[in-house]
């Protein structure tokens, strides 16, 4: 057995892999890595450009060829840009009033609904699931106006309620995602629990949810990210400046670029704030990565 596992693609020792390569193999490896580097660069360069532009003087931002290593690097731009407006408040608004409640709502509601669509069999399930998916098939621009009128009648305009409350009633995208995942969890586990007298709620909370942690992390991460980056939602429903999330404040900064023209330090400030705004998402990804890697072991069941 050990002989076979040593020859698995995910071999423990990478040295052995490299030493066994033929000259042609080396060429192929180099081509492979060159391709990967080019692709990675296409994603990373905008980030790098954002980060370094924050350190530059305004005229340096758009020079050709681009200055890849700004000197002198104005690290104080990060602090100055952040304090140039009340970004502390906007940050708290985004996290406390919007992103966190919405994430909690999405994870809880989508898990429950997805379980209902994935495992128990009941009449009309597939029709309802199709209806649930159908909610995604109408473009957002179509429902925008009717939704706004509805929320205005409810008196919710000017608060975060129009953005938070719907999150607690499920989101077709995540319901579909979780349903796909739940269906791969062995039915034997929930059958065994049912024989022990567990109700559907117990099966969901004690068996399905612990096993589906990576999928739930994906849902939490994506929902947090979309709330964090959401510009259009708050633009429509949140109108007091004291309530603004980061996205509106940054866009407001950008909007004033056109008004004031080339006021010194505008672009670096904009880039500095954008870079700080991107940080929490990057951090969230790094922490979530751990859950993904731990993964789950469905191999406990032998079919």
């Amino acid at each position: 057995m050990s002989v076979i596992t040593n020859r698995l693609p995910r071999a423990k020792s990478t040295d052995a892999y490299w030493s066994r390569l033929s000259p042609l193999g080396w060429v192929l490896e180099i081509i492979k890595y060159a391709l990967l580097l080019v692709l990675a660069a296409s994603y990373l360069l905008p980030f790098y450009w954002m980060g370094t532009s924050a350190l530059k003087d305004d005229p340096q931002v758009f020079t050709v060829p681009p200055i890849w290593l700004p000197s002198p690097a104005h690290w104080n731009h990060f602090y100055d840009a952040w304090t140039s407006q009340n970004f502390n408040l906007y940050f708290v608004n985004t996290v406390v009033k919007y992103a966190v409640p919405v994430t909690i709502g999405a994870v809880v509601s989508c898990a429950v609904v997805a379980y209902g669509f994935a495992r128990p069999k009941w009449p009309g399930r597939d029709v309802l699931f199709a209806l649930c998916l159908a909610t995604m098939m109408v473009p957002g621009q179509v429902t925008m106006v009717p939704l706004f009128i509805t929320f205005r009648r409810l008196g919710w305009v000017g608060t975060y309620l129009p953005l938070i409350v719907p999150a607690f009633f499920g989101d077709a995208y995540f319901i579909f995602l979780l349903r796909q995942f739940f269906r791969t969890i062995p039915a034997e586990l929930s059958d065994a629990a049912r024989i022990d007298g567990a109700s559907e709620w117990v099966i969901l909370s004690r068996i399905i949810i612990p096993l589906a942690k990576p999928a739930l992390t994906v849902v939490a991460l994506f929902r947090f990210m979309s709330a964090w980056n959401d510009y259009f939602g708050p633009l429509i429903y949140v109108n007091k400046k004291a309530q603004w999330p980061m996205a509106l404040a940054i866009e407001n900064m950008r909007g004033r670029l056109y008004e004031v023209g080339t006021k010194p330090l505008h672009y670096p400030y904009l880039m500095a704030v954008s870079a700080i705004a991107a940080l929490p998402i990057l951090l969230a990804f790094f922490f979530a990565q751990r859950t993904f890697i731990e993964g789950i072991t469905l191999t406990g069941i032998k079919g």
């Binding site: 076979i4 596992t5 660069a41 360069l45 473009p139 796909q180 269906r183 791969t184 072991t297």
Partner: protein, 193 residues
Amino acid sequence: MNTPLTGQPAPPNEQFIGLLRTALRRLYDNNALRTSPLVAIFGLMDEPDPSAALRQLLIAAIRALQPQAGTPADTLQDVPRSLYDAAMIDGANGFRRFWHVTIPMCSPVVLFNLVMGFIGGFQYFTMPWLLTQGGPNRATEFYSLHLYRNAFLFLRMGKAAALAWLLFVVVVVFTITLFKTSGRWVYYGGEAD
């Protein structure tokens, strides 16, 4: 701050795309960069050539799929090692292990991405609206742009509603077809056949 529904409607915006566009626009004004391979990679430029503009928006769309592409990678790690072991004993090479073990085990996520790709693709809006607004010469006039234009610029709400219904029906038909075929190629490990 522009407010919606008064005068010129505020285009649905995504701040970072907006930023990127502003920046790239100004970069693009320099002739030196116009031929740069980086510009081709970003694929975000206003091009005078209609077919090039369309091509670049499609590249941008494919690049934007990145978060979805992450989802199959997560489940990749959960494919039981025992299946790969079994395939190796049967003499399967790397490609066959991928084709006959990895892909079938990931098929629920493939179905998910396929359906989502269809739904999202039919509604492709933000990128073309921000970058080309349907031009040049309507080369990048995507369906949802046409819909939005009718509804909020020409204020032909009836036509826009009809367009939306048509889009809905087409997407429903596509999705139902996908689900009908899915029984043949999607494998849910958790369920007895």
